[in-house]
Symmetry: D2
Subunit: 139 residues, 4 copies
Amino acid sequence: MNKHFLSKRHVEFRDTDMAGIVHFSVFFTYMEQAEHELLRSVGMSVVHEIDGQKISWPRVAAECNYLRAIKFEQIITVQVSILRIGDKSVTYRFRFFESEQEIANGKITAVCCYFVHGSRPISVVIPDSVRSLLHEYLE
Amino acid sequence: MNKHFLSKRHVEFRDTDMAGIVHFSVFFTYMEQAEHELLRSVGMSVVHEIDGQKISWPRVAAECNYLRAIKFEQIITVQVSILRIGDKSVTYRFRFFESEQEIANGKITAVCCYFVHGSRPISVVIPDSVRSLLHEYLE
Amino acid sequence: MNKHFLSKRHVEFRDTDMAGIVHFSVFFTYMEQAEHELLRSVGMSVVHEIDGQKISWPRVAAECNYLRAIKFEQIITVQVSILRIGDKSVTYRFRFFESEQEIANGKITAVCCYFVHGSRPISVVIPDSVRSLLHEYLE
Amino acid sequence: MNKHFLSKRHVEFRDTDMAGIVHFSVFFTYMEQAEHELLRSVGMSVVHEIDGQKISWPRVAAECNYLRAIKFEQIITVQVSILRIGDKSVTYRFRFFESEQEIANGKITAVCCYFVHGSRPISVVIPDSVRSLLHEYLE
């Protein structure tokens, strides 16, 4: 069964460009904000501490397909689900709707990493506690 | 033969996030800015008039793969080429380098459209004059 | 009596910079979003039609004072009031709070303008219907 | 004598909004980018190390006055000078020009701070070596 997380938002003025529509790059911050809401909804944060280790999720891939333009003050719903939980990475799927019509869809793949201040992030196997929390939204 | 356009830039402070690196969404505006530079280099603009008709290029797809993080004040080179010129669309390919190392790569597909104020953009066959200008950067 | 409008929000990841705090420029979009919420709350929009004329509110001045830094996922309250309604302009005052502590405050002055497509905006006397709606939030 | 630093730039597509002009918040990142260019021109960076101490410059105030709208692909010149060097703070003045016409002007006041990872920045007296470098652009 396909469980997903829903996030609702207004299109803000600054999200638009001179073409009068939401700029294509803004959909990526919309996706990220919906992902972070999902994480908060299961009691996590994108910057999280587990056993005294700071973990976060740098992105390795992101993509978006644009079906229809949206405009200032339109209300959009972002539907988030998890397409895949790998050993070290998670792929989120996003679908954007305005009044029931799909306007865009996309994916983000993020890698679970330990962060030590001043050094490069080190990818690690997703801790079981995190895995089981994310499992709720696995397609 | 593979001809490409090169664009060079500094990473700005606002391009970074609390992880200390360039935010993944920023690569999409980097791509767009390099695309617009390429268009200017052949005498066009992304908002262009041909035979009294305003044409522009809404995006239908965008993607990016992230290989290495980059930081404030690093200098990056964006290499742009054209992967495909279709009847109505163009797919650009972008590769990002910092000190010879590839840090990311991506694609944007844009559709040639007529813009009439107040109505929806209408996709049109790419005018021959535009096609031949873009041809210079076709892979 | 001092009536004000309240807007609540999360700090988003993209709002931060490499210093780990919200970038100073972001407070201006926070102010604008709170202003637009206030306008919606009285049945207006920042892009509004009155008697078949499109009016909007270009800015002539904006300022912000920063008292304390704020971080990702902190919840901030933006308090908006109107400092002055002139013949043609409105000055909004904004105060930002996090857990009762003031973190920043600022002002935006916007001018009422008619927009005709393709020409420069023309400043006009604020229509009475608009003036009386805004009056509710006048300090 | 009034010495100033000059920075030139294109207006990018993402800098615009649905009103077809540069969004008012973007002027603040333009100011910051010109400030950082000025710092680089005298051999500094906004994130700088002196005697093993990391110093940076959080903002305490920022303001902008808007005189004329600017549009996509217009070329603007930002003129930066230093209005005041205090014990611990610097106030920069910015003037924006397009084809000789002033389009906006603004100020940013930044405070010299030591950054220790994980703690609050501590304001400090501007080191003499920094003060003398900045002095070159003092009005």
